[in-house]
Structure formats: C-alpha cells, structure tokens
C-alpha cells in the first residue's frame, strides 16, 4: 500500500486526502515503467558497448574463425588453381604428343558448351547476366539447329523405311563410349603414325583397353573373320543388308564365326592391336554399297543431338590415327 497522499485545499484550508482513479494509477505505473525501461536501455547500451553478451561473443568467435578459414581456403584455392592449370597443361601436352593434334578446348573439361570466358565481352553491364544467358541460349539453339539439319537427312530416309532396316543399319558406337572420351580419330585425312604423312583414314578409331568388348552395330551376317598379318590385323566384316557393311579391325580375339547371324549389341570380338597398329584401339569402318562412309553419321541410336555435335567435333580433329 503506497503512503497516503494529501493535497492542500485553499477553499477549506485543509488537507484533503487525494484519491486516485484507476486511470491515473495506470498512467502513473506506465510512466514509471517507461522511465525504468529508458534508464535500463541506456544502462544496457553502455553495458553492451563495454561488455559482449554471450551471443555476441559466440558470433564474434564465429566471424573470426570464418575469416581465418576463409583466408586459408582462399590461399589454398589459389594454389589448387595453379596446380590444376598445370595438370591441364600436362593433359593438353599429352594429347598433343599422342594424337599430334590440338586438344579439344574445354568441351570435355567444363562440360557442355563453351569454356568460361566465352561471353567475357558481355560482362560488366547492368543486365549482363541476362544478355549472356540469352547469347548462350542462342548459341545452343544455333548449334542444335545445325546438328538437326545434319541428321535430318538420315532420319527422314530412315523413317520412311521398314523396321528391319532400322534394326540392320549400323546405328550404335561399337564399344561402350558413354562420355565420348574414347573417340580418338575420325574419318578423313589423318597423319599416319609411322609414315608421318597425311593418309586418308577410312574409319574411326576408338581407344580402349586390351580385351574391351566390341558390339555389332546392327543386325546382320558375319561374312568374314580374318586374321591378317598386316593392315587390319584380326578383323571382322559384317554384312547388314540394305547395302551396308561394317568392319571391326585390330581385334585381339573373335567371339563369332563366319556365317553367323548377329544382333545389334552382340559381342563379336575384343579390342587389340593386331596388324598395322601402334596401340590398342578399335578401327571401325562402315561401307554403303561398297563405298566407305563417315561412321560419325551412324550413331543415331546412341547419341542425342548435343552428344552428336560433340562427337562430330572430336572426330573432325585432324590428328594422328593409330593404323
């Protein structure tokens, strides 16, 4: 109970007891409370500027640690980048020395289209991200259109024909080549590994370890299983009908006999280095009506348009073949 308060009344010249209403009381309490809050706030402000709360301490520790670690990681990253660059140079050099060709820039390294600084010129503007993205997309679309137009001719022709033909025409890669890194040398003028002169390479080379499975690329009949001392070495010829035949050369071993019927995807032999060959690889040829054609156009069962485009790029590198 607060002490009783009195108020001088000039009319009666006496002290009257002061009576407070609930409202006044509340107001009073509020005033006191606010006052205390303000004082407390000031004190707390002073206190907080001198001493850290446990939360702050934890946060400070956190920030400190993160900054230190960030610096460390940053420095290490710089090192890592140097090492990586070094490794990539080594990779490029190896590629150059083995394939006698310029390595494929970025495509395999960064995945997808283009290297990092493709759109360097577009950076630095307000909407540069948007512009870059759009340019990127345009690029992709143009490439896709190009690839499409290339494979449409084949597709249209195929679509008109019967199922049997679809199953017979060579249409897959003769070895497992999911990431396309096994493609070594394409169709066209290539440097001969021993003669070191440009010679026409009538097939595609795939690098693969000794004994890797080789698949028939379409249904057909094995017409020849030959072991030559030179040239193609141990090789298989499959007649697919419809004018198509395919040749698989430099095998280490056979898995089929002459006259045998094979289905697409059947294992017909194993990779080796027989005949005129300087390393383990598969030499793959397709003939249409007895004339050699570029096998890169006959992987439509395996590759989507992007992969196809990459395959075309890899195969078009004029480098060294392996036979």
């Amino acid at each position: 109970m607060p002490p009783t308060k009195y108020k001088f009344n000039p009319d009666s010249l006496s002290f009257d007891k002061v009576r407070f209403g609930i409202k006044a009381l509340l107001l009073r309490f509020l005033a006191y409370f606010l006052g205390s809050v303000i004082v407390a706030f000031i004190y707390w402000g002073i206190f907080a500027s001198f001493f850290d709360s446990p939360k702050e301490k934890a946060l400070k520790r956190e920030v400190e640690q993160m900054t230190i670690q960030y610096d460390l990681i940053h420095r290490e990253m710089a090192n890592v980048e140097i090492v990586l660059e070094d490794l990539q140079k080594t990779d490029d050099n190896l590629y150059r020395s083995i394939f006698e060709a310029e390595p494929i820039p970025g495509t395999l390294r960064d995945g997808g289209i283009g290297g990092v600084n493709r759109y360097d010129a577009l950076e630095g503007y307000n909407n540069s991200n948007l512009v870059i993205e759009t340019a990127n997309r345009l690029d992709k679309i143009i490439k896709k259109v190009y690839v499409q137009s290339k494979s449409f001719d084949d597709l249209i022709k195929l679509a008109k024909d019967k199922e049997a033909m679809l199953k017979s025409v060579p249409a897959i890669i003769p070895i497992s080549n999911k990431d396309l890194t096994r493609t070594a040398s394409g169709y066209g003028w290539r440097i001969h590994p021993i003669y070191k002169i440009s010679k026409f390479h009538y097939g595609m080379d795939f690098t693969a370890p000794l004994g890797t499975d080789i698949y028939a690329t379409g249904n057909g009949t094995v017409v020849a299983v030959l072991s030559a001392q030179r040239g193609l070495g141990k090789h298989i010829i499959i007649n697919h009908g419809f004018g198509y035949s395919s040749i698989y050369a430099h095998l280490s071993n056979f898995n089929v006999r002459a006259g045998q019927k094979v289905q697409r995807g059947e294992i017909i032999g194993f990779v080796g280095s027989t005949g005129t060959s300087v390393a383990n690889h598969l030499h793959y040829e397709i003939k249409l009506n007895g004339v050699n054609v570029d096998p890169v156009n006959y992987y439509f069962e395996d590759l989507n348009s992007m992969e196809y485009e990459r395959m075309v790029e890899i195969a078009s590198k004029t480098g060294q073949s392996f036979d």
Binding site: L59, M66, I73, H74, V80, P193, R230, A279, F322
Partner: protein, 283 residues
C-alpha cells in the same frame, strides 16, 4: 532490473553489434558459397582429367588404370578437423576443408599418373620410331622374290629358305634405314650377302640389307628412319642387281612384307623420306 530488461531487449531486437556480426556471418557465408562453386568446378575438371587419363591415354599404352583406392587414399580420418568443430557453421567449414583436401589429393594422384603416362608416351614414340615400318627402297611395284621356301637357289641351285624380300632395283638405288637404330654390322658378309648392313632397332628387331654396291654408314653409327645407308648393287651371291631385305624379331625371320604398307605411292614415299631426312643428321 536492467539486466532483466537487457536480456529481454536482446532477445527481441538484438543489439546493433549483434546485427553487424550477423551481417558479417551472412557475408562470409556468401563468399564461402562462391568459393564452393570454384571448388566444385575444380573437382569437375579433375574428374574430366581423370577421364582422359583412364579412357584415352592408358588404353593406348596398355596400362592399367589407377585403382580407386589409390585415388581416394589419404581422404578421411575423423579428427582431422577437430579445431573447426564447435562453431555454428562448423559443418560448412569442415565440408570446405575436406573438399580442398580431396582436391589436393586428387591432384597429387593425377600428377603422378600423368607423369608415368608422359614417360610411357616418350617410350612409345621411341618404340614407333625404332620399328622397321617402311620399305627400304622407293620402288614398290618391283618386288622380287619374297619370303618363301624356294626350290632352287639362283646361284647355289639347291633348295633353300629365302628369309627376306627381294626388291628388283637398278644399280645405284638409294637404300633407306627402315627404322631408328644402330648399325651393328657394316661390310662384306661372308654368308653371301656381299656388302651388307645389319641394323639393330632394339625391341628385338634387326634388319638386314644385302648385295649393296656401296655402304654409307659405319659400324656403331646411330641411324634414323629414312637415312640413306647405302646404294644397291649385286655383290655377293647374286645374279642381278637387287636389294635383299630381311627382318628379324627376337632372332626369328619375319616376312618383311608385313612390315610396310604397299598403299603408299611413290610421291608420298618421297615426301615421307624427305620429312624423315630433314629431321636426321645423315644427308
């Protein structure tokens, strides 16, 4: 009272200092996420390096791929990052640290692997250069008697194995070394080859060039593929001008026809020889 209020305030509003600190933490997190992207890029490019290692180079040289256990070696260990634990974001820090460690160990293994491949590649090139892979003269369409059992030796008149390939060439045709190697015999051969050169190519290969009219290399001399080593003739047991060419692998006679391609035409052969000669010391 003030303390109670203080804690109260803090819980509701947070002190300005705290706000700044929280802001800093957020900023750092952002920077970390940027670095994180770089880390992921690095790992991706390391993986692609590894792909070209495993799928491109090693199959060519018939090498086994680097085992997974070796590639992943050195990663793990529980107490490696103890100093980093106990923070709000220690999970993140540890993941970054371990990623970097992973990258470093991957890079180290990759470097080692590339080193061995590079060594093997040099060796491979050397092997290809030493292989007797071309024809010794620039006349493909006048192959004489080949590698076969012949009933009558033209001079001796008896049945003998013909261990080499004859090239019917006129006097004075240039004879080329068919692969890099060193001359181990040079001079008159009492076995009937007349003026004769034997080149040791290493890797088990030796080639013999017989019935020469002139020899241009001395014993012990190193020769390169395409070097002019002699002039053809008809010395020794010979009935007419020709070159006798013989290939041996580990002491066994091989049919020389299998050691060169017939589909190189004369012009191409000339270009090739010129290219070879421009790199070699013999002219």
């Amino acid at each position: 009272m003030a303390v109670i209020y203080g804690t109260f305030f803090e819980n509701i509003f947070g002190s300005p200092k705290e706000k700044i600190l929280t802001q800093q933490v957020e900023n750092l997190k952002l920077q970390y996420s940027l670095i994180g992207r770089e880390l992921d890029n690095s790992i991706a490019s390391l993986n692609s390096l590894r792909l070209s290692d495993d799928k491109r180079y090693r199959p060519i040289f018939d090498m086994d791929s680097v085992p997974e256990s070796y590639r992943k070696a050195g990663i793990g260990g529980v107490d490696r990052y103890r100093e980093l634990s106990g923070y709000q974001n220690s999970g993140m820090l540890i993941s970054f640290k371990s990623k970097i460690d992973e990258i470093i160990s991957m890079a180290t293994v990759q470097k080692e692997s590339f080193k061995t491949i590079a060594e093997r590649s040099v060796e491979w090139k050397r092997e290809i250069d030493h292989f007797p892979g071309i024809s010794p003269v620039n006349v493909r369409f006048s192959l004489g008697e080949g590698y076969k059992w012949r009933a009558i030796h033209p001079v001796l008149g008896t049945a003998r194995m013909h261990n080499g390939q004859d090239f019917r060439v006129p006097y004075g045709t240039e004879v080329y070394a068919t692969g890099d190697g060193s001359v181990i015999e040079s001079g008159w051969n009492t076995g009937g080859f007349g003026n004769c050169i034997v080149i040791d190519h290493g890797y088990g290969y030796q080639t013999v060039y017989g019935h020469l009219s002139a020899i241009k290399v001395a014993r012990g001399q190193n020769v390169k593929r395409g070097d002019r080593i002699g002039i053809s003739g008809s010395t020794g047991l010979s009935t007419g001008p020709h070159l006798h060419y013989q290939v041996e692998q580990f002491g066994q006679h091989k049919n020389p026809v299998n050691f060169f391609n017939n589909d190189v035409n004369a012009d191409e052969y000339n270009d090739m020889i010129q290219a070879f000669e421009s790199q070699s010391k013999l002219k």
